[in-house]
Amino acid sequence: MTVPTSSGTAASVPALSVSGLTVRYGRAGKVPPAVDGVSFDVAPGETLGLVGESGSGKSTIGKAILGLQRPAAGRVLLHGADITRASLRQRRVAAIDLRVVFQDPYSSLNPAQTIGQTLQEPLRVLRVPKDKRWRRVADGLAAVGLPADAAGRYPAQFSGGQRQRIAIARALVCEPQVIVLDEPVSSLDLSTQAQVLNLLADLRGRHQLALLFIAHDLSVVRFLAQRVVVLYRGQVMEAGLVEDVTQRPGHPYTIALTAAAPVPQPAAQARRRAAREALGIAAAGAAPPPAAGCPFAARCPLATDVCRAERPPLVTGDDGADGTGSAVACHHSGQARGLRLPAGTA
């Protein structure tokens, strides 16, 4: 395992690169892999959204990148250096600047430690000298909008939104270049979510951070990310610029996902509902996914025999009349476009 080097031409080397990642829980053959051949890149300073529902494997991908879960196959490169099999100890030794923010603000901070102790723990690992440590802790707290005296208090004294800010500060104090965020706003109220999203947008801009943003909500991803990858049952269904994928989805699953999210305007929502029901996408629990082929075949209105037999490759669509440039894994991607909700209902 090589030590990551700072690349001269930052633009050419992706900050984070995942190729052919496969992760299994349990023995091969017994259960399908949680992550099955997923590939994507995150450029320096870019935010990539990983979107999917439960069982999509998005959190598992995050864990595999962070070293919490061993991949069965595939590679993970950080600034070009292969960290796929690097254990946590090896990562520590190489001082990998990959940090994390988790979903649940209530269990991501140790209740028995003060905020200050929590924030300076990673700095101690990096062997930052003591005086500099407290300086960075104070700076980190300021960057997320919390007062410096928060360092002496315990997590129980803070609200959910504030705790998430502290978790973000914990990631920032190490001055990383890449942060993996695993559903960081899913547990927060709407107004708190907006505050934290704004904070992330600011920090990303100020520090040129590459963010891997794992979420289940496409509209949140649309706000924060430049590109997005849509996952279903461990496989990539669609990937591309966030505008393309969310506004002009090319895969039936993406269409289903966008159609299912309700909007707070009753008349518009009623039209969306009618259009969604006209799609004819089968219920989630209705039938088990086929053993081979496209995992969405059991629910897709366009499914044919080839879909159940052969796994569709991820193919970049041509820039047709509707301007879709995203990559889609579907045997019938042309037809899929026709499923899209009519204009005026999105």
Binding site: R99, F102, L109, L197, Q247, A259, A260
Partner: protein
């Protein structure tokens, strides 16, 4: 598959470790117990310095005497002073017990931490070994050890410690595994914290209370086992007194001097009790919340607090609204209000949404209606008119008759809402037979048999969209997916053919595509059966999809209510507008904003609610007049709003997205 969770016989380890606030603290009982133990040990170790008589000093003139001035605890059969012997025997009777604990923890805890960290194979191996140790008959093994090496108390207790390390391992393995699922452990690992430090600073502290409790229990076991061995004659050699030996002596003389039994037994008991109290005072454990949860709802009803201006003294209102809540106040018993002056009503066959963020009181409001508030929370004022009766004043017995039959409820986590040890079929048929049996809703008045109940249950499952009802009836909750489980919960709610279904965040824990299905199901139930639904949610999109009317709540009050079209399309209250603005969904054709409009500050806690508008502190339009109590007035859309300068509708509503733009109104002008 693991063997049964074997625990040392004295107590159950508590459940997952409690996330305490900072460090564990000591309480009064704990301090006393600690004092007793310290004094005991000190007295024993320093006995030669202060004992009134030498340990072996025999006084043949005063044998088997009771307590007296010269012998505070009497004398034994050889005239030796009991107090002296008890004190002298303290260390040898208690110390080895401590040793057993140290050995047991010293082996068990590191093994447990390692097994929890390194997963499957290490865990299997250690667990098998632990089970082996647990299966050995401990007393007999100890005796065999005595037979082999003779009576060396310290060695024997070391062996006991080894035997006890097995249950210690078992308990702490479970705890450590549970702690390691907490995200802060993962965060530390990702940050490169060494494995040793993760265990010392993150995993162990979380288990602190369990460690204390188990230490006390093992100590008790050790002390009592040693006393037993000493009693049988396998204790310390003759000149050294030990408490067990003293009891043996006392038992031989029980006919002539029963008093001897008392101090010898009591000192043992007090020491063990002291250890347990000390450990209990450190833990935050299985305390009670009051009378058993069988009284759930009783505490919620226990006497309505004398309410402030009750608007409800009049006769029941117009029976057309199915549900009419007036001025409802819910408060912690003897504490601040959680919900104040909430009013709304529902017509038959409609869906009303209660929307707001966490802490706004929407869940408390919903639970107050059928009287299902948690312990310590009660209805403190107002009325809940349902089908001509005020539910707020009804005793528990009558409320029970209404629950399920007229008002049903489903909640957020369908997987845990079902009893894991009974099949779905059982859980459905039981209420069916109860509701549709003799003299109840049953039309013919006949008892519903098991087969018929199953048939009805299958029908209900089909009605909620389950494609294979027979198979689901045979299944258990853990075999269902989240969406299916929620459908089952809805079917369960329908067993009594209720008129009103209260749904407390029913789709929050579900995927968005599954959520869409459940909402469709609820909508079709409303349309086809005339069911009315009160849905609580924080998601405005859900409200827009399903509801006819909506009430927006903030800090325990309804700040705006009306039809969804009016409230969400043209909100009157600044909070509603801000909430809509904070929603990241952007409609087609509009650019994604660089920043989401967000509301500064946080929701105030109930204790800090001001007398005036509770949103004023965060509102861009607040003025000095907002500090006075704000009444609910008519809103421009036909609903009600609690604001003295509500937003006015903009001239051309934008049909594409209806996204409102808050536009300040002249202060003092109401529409």
């Amino acid at each position: 598959m693991t063997a049964p969770s074997l625990t040392p016989p004295l107590n159950l380890a508590g459940g997952p470790p409690a996330a305490g606030r900072g460090r564990p603290r000591l309480r009064a009982g704990g301090a006393l117990s600690a004092a007793w133990l310290v004094i005991l040990l000190l007295a024993s170790l320093t006995a030669p310095l202060w004992e009134p008589y030498p340990v072996d000093d025999q006084d043949s003139l005063h044998t088997l005497a009771g307590p007296s001035g010269s012998h505070w605890l009497g004398t034994d059969e050889l005239g030796r002073d009991v107090l002296t012997r008890i004190a002298a025997g303290g260390w040898i009777s208690v110390g080895p017990g401590l040793l057993a604990v140290v050995v047991a923890f010293g082996i068990g805890i590191p093994l447990a931490l390692t097994a929890a960290e390194h997963g499957r194979w290490v865990e299997r191996g250690s667990s098998r070994f632990a089970e082996l140790l647990l299966a050995l008959p401990s007393m007999i093994i100890l005796l065999a050890f005595v037979g082999a090496v003779g009576v060396h108390m310290w060695a024997i207790m070391t062996v006991l410690g080894v035997l006890l390390s097995a249950p210690v391992y078992r308990i702490f393995l479970g705890q450590a595994q549970s702690v390691r699922t907490l995200l802060y452990v993962d965060a530390a690992r990702v940050n490169g914290v060494s494995s040793l430090r993760v265990n010392l600073r993150h995993v162990l502290p979380a288990m602190a209370t369990t460690i204390a409790v188990q230490a006390a229990q093992l100590f008790a076991i050790g002390v009592l086992i040693e006393a037993g061995l000493a009693f049988m004659g396998f204790g310390p050699k003759v000149p050294t007194p030990s408490w067990g030996g003293l009891i043996a002596d006392a038992s031989q003389n029980v006919y002539t001097d029963p008093w001897l039994m008392v101090p010898t037994g009591l000192v043992l008991a007090l020491t063990v009790i002291a250890a347990n109290v000390l450990a209990d005072s450190v833990q935050t454990g299985t305390g009670r919340a009051g009378p058993g949860q069988a009284g759930l709802g009783q505490a919620g009803r226990a006497g309505r607090a004398p309410s402030a201006a009750a608007v409800t003294a009049s006769a029941p209102p117009d029976p057309d609204p199915l549900l009419d809540v007036r001025d409802l106040t819910v408060a912690v018993a003897g504490g601040p209000g959680l919900v104040t002056g909430v009013s709304f009503s529902m017509r038959r066959g409609t869906v009303l949404g209660l929307v707001g963020e966490s802490g706004c009181g929407k869940t408390m409001t919903a639970r107050a209606l059928p009287g299902l508030l948690p312990e310590g929370v009660q209805v403190a004022g107002g009325s809940v008119w349902f089908a001509g009766r005020d539910l707020a004043g009804l005793p528990e017995k009558e409320l029970r008759a209404i629950r399920g039959r007229d008002i049903a409820m489903i909640s957020q986590e369908p997987m845990v809402a079902l009893d894991p040890v009974f099949s779905i079929g059982y859980q459905l048929t039981q209420p069916i037979r109860r509701f549709r049996g003799v003299g109840q809703h049953g039309v013919d008045g006949h008892r519903v048999g098991r087969a018929e109940a199953r048939r009805i249950a299958a029908g209900l499952l089909a009605q909620v969209g389950i494609t294979n009802p027979r198979r689901v009836l045979r299944s258990y909750p853990h075999q269902l997916s989240g969406g299916m489980a929620q459908r089952v919960c809805i079917a369960l709610a329908l067993t009594g053919s209720p008129r009103l279904l209260i749904a407390d965040e029913p789709t929050t824990a579900l995927d968005v595509t599954v959520q869409a299905e459940i909402l469709s199901l609820l909508r079709s139930l409303v349309r086809d059966t005339g069911l009315s639904v009160l849905i609580v949610s924080h998601d405005l999109g859900v409200i827009a999809d399903l509801c006819d009317d909506v009430a927006v709540m903030y800090a325990g009050q309804v700040v705006e209510s009306g039809t969804v079209a009016a409230v969400l399309g043209q909100p009157s209250h600044p909070y509603t507008a801000a909430l809509l603005g904070a929603n990241p969904h952007v409609s087609e054709g509009l650019p994604v904003p660089g920043r989401l409009p967000s509301i500064p500050g946080t929701v105030p806690a109930p204790a800090d609610w001001p007398a005036g508008c509770r949103f004023a502190g965060r509102c861009a339009l607040a003025t000095a007049a907002c500090a006075d109590p704000v009444p609910a007035t008519r809103a421009h859309g036909g609903g009600r709003v609690r604001c003295i300068h509500p937003l006015s509708p903009w001239p051309e509503p934008n049909q594409a997205d209806g996204l409102p733009v808050p536009r300040p109104v002249e202060p003092g002008v109401t529409s």
